[in-house]
Symmetry: C2
Subunit: 150 residues, 2 copies
Amino acid sequence: MEILEMSEAECLRKLGQTKFGRLACARDNQPYVVPVYFAFDGRHIYGFTTLGQKVEWMRLNPQVCLEIDERSSDDTWLSVVVFGRYEELPDEPRFGTARTIAHQLLQQRSAIWWEPATSSKRNKSLALTPIVYRIHIRQITGYRTSPNEE
Amino acid sequence: MEILEMSEAECLRKLGQTKFGRLACARDNQPYVVPVYFAFDGRHIYGFTTLGQKVEWMRLNPQVCLEIDERSSDDTWLSVVVFGRYEELPDEPRFGTARTIAHQLLQQRSAIWWEPATSSKRNKSLALTPIVYRIHIRQITGYRTSPNEE
């Protein structure tokens, strides 16, 4: 099994074809990783979430990592890793355009609420308030097995 | 869709039934998440890896997070998150028992090499030296949709 580094263009294309990944944040050097739905417009990664540990941590430390992967067998897989910066898009005029892009993209991709936080018994109303965010990509790398079967 | 918190026993059972997850580490509060194969003996999580960014970071900061999830549909899923501590198990007599457990478990589970690091052109011999590790579980939590279809 040969493993190849993917080009940046290939990584970005794969990001655009994917809607589900794992998002990691960190507080005091303790990482925390959760599954997320997202959408990518060729520039930013957009997502919805609700208030909870992940958002609290990302507000304190916006450095995040998004990972996507595909496995059709143990010998055929790819993985793309994004290092980026979390930015919340509150319901304010200056974020209007960005929020519209986020909503349109996420609707197109049939994104659904996939948030353990929504089940929180505590602060239920707060937990159900949607939070729109985007991730600014700082670095993207990927590996895949060869041959490329796409 | 109702979302339920899983009991610790249920989380641990699911961990024992799973062999693939995403492991996050962090350096200078920058998280990094990669897919990994692992095995669980009811107490520790065991894995193989090779020298690369992940190991370098975990040696500097052993705080890690392992996430596993299952989705049979958008409405039926579960996710378990482990906060833990990385410990390397070098080929030394004092780690002999732990390494034997790791090897046996990982063989049983048909674990394979799934390591972008092995393709590294730099330090190829170093990158191919297997590193055995285990994760000490500090906290485990999980959520799943209801009803439980297991």
